[in-house]
Subunit: 187 residues, 2 copies
């Protein structure tokens, strides 16, 4: 049984839905864990995953995601959760009010510890920051992020439409395909 | 010899100036170190100080400081450095554009490791966020912070005037008086 360590119910629900498509069952280890401050989401994720081995039984994985806005030098980046819970989407839109370059990307890094080693899966989706808050699905920055090729924000899509293209789904498809491949190899 | 571990030249200069008034000489250990993500500056500082014992010889101390804006639920708080280097003072002023409650505080936590134990010294100064960027002294948020009882920002004061009232000076006076007291006791 693979364990998903996260305190975020939305993340667990999104990822469970994807896992089911692969016939993989995942268990929710609902806890907050310590993260380091770093500009690199990959390093933060690796470090958290590594330290969790003291208290969570492998195999388990963690998800670190962030929104990186080019005109703001990557802000809010690795501190996306904190920024979301303080200044929120309203704050981001205010800073971006007179900013023409609205390009941004969403990044997910999944780190899995199988007991003997840690493997990372990356998902990235390019897009732009909307001019206003739109939609009520999803969570976090979904109402202000318009993925490339779409005219809707993530929050204007249902979970299936979002999962078809999102940064998180790209990273987790990598994870689930890796798991399936290993399971097949063992048979 | 007491060691001040910081990558920030401005901090080292401010603190050296204060130390000299107490006849205390400090050595600059110029390095970046790992910090955890946490809402509590005290916990971040304690954790950093504790982990540094693997690589820095005691006695040494670290300084964690942040600006906490009440209307923004404490933002930028423990991520003040990161926010300063991404959205900067301009970004903060934009978010605060139509915000009437401009109250904020600057906090410094100094953690000293003497080899056998870690002691913390806290400095806090209440104030408000200016309507524009004013002054060119100091660093970070100094140009937008007006301490209570003054009509100038920290960046409009010279280093001596700022040191007379700043959060950092309050915390470090605590540290230096503690050091002097211990030195006297040993004589």
């Amino acid at each position: 049984m693979y364990r998903f360590v996260t305190s975020n119910r939305h993340k667990f629900e999104e990822v469970s839905e994807m896992a089911a498509l692969y016939g993989i069952e995942i268990e929710w280890v609902r806890m907050k864990y310590e993260e380091i401050q770093d500009d690199s989401t990959e390093r933060i994720s690796y470090d958290s995953c590594n330290k969790l081995s003291r208290i969570v039984e492998a195999p388990y994985f963690v998800d670190d995601s962030g929104l990186f806005i080019n005109a703001l030098r990557g802000f809010p980046g690795p501190y996306s959760n904190y920024v979301s819970s303080t200044i929120g989407n309203e704050g981001i839109l205010k800073i971006m009010d007179d900013v023409d370059d609205r390009t941004a990307y969403f990044l997910t890094v999944v780190s899995m510890n199988e007991g003997h080693s840690i493997t990372q899966f990356i998902g990235k989706v390019m897009g732009k920051i909307a001019r206003s808050i739109r939609g009520s699905n999803g969570f976090g920055y979904d109402p202000i992020f318009i993925p490339e090729g779409s005219d809707r924000t993530f929050a204007e899509m249902d979970i299936k439409a979002k999962n078809a293209i999102s940064h998180r789904s790209i990273a987790f498809r990598g994870l689930f395909e890796y798991i399936k491949m290993n399971q097949t190899a063992k048979k």
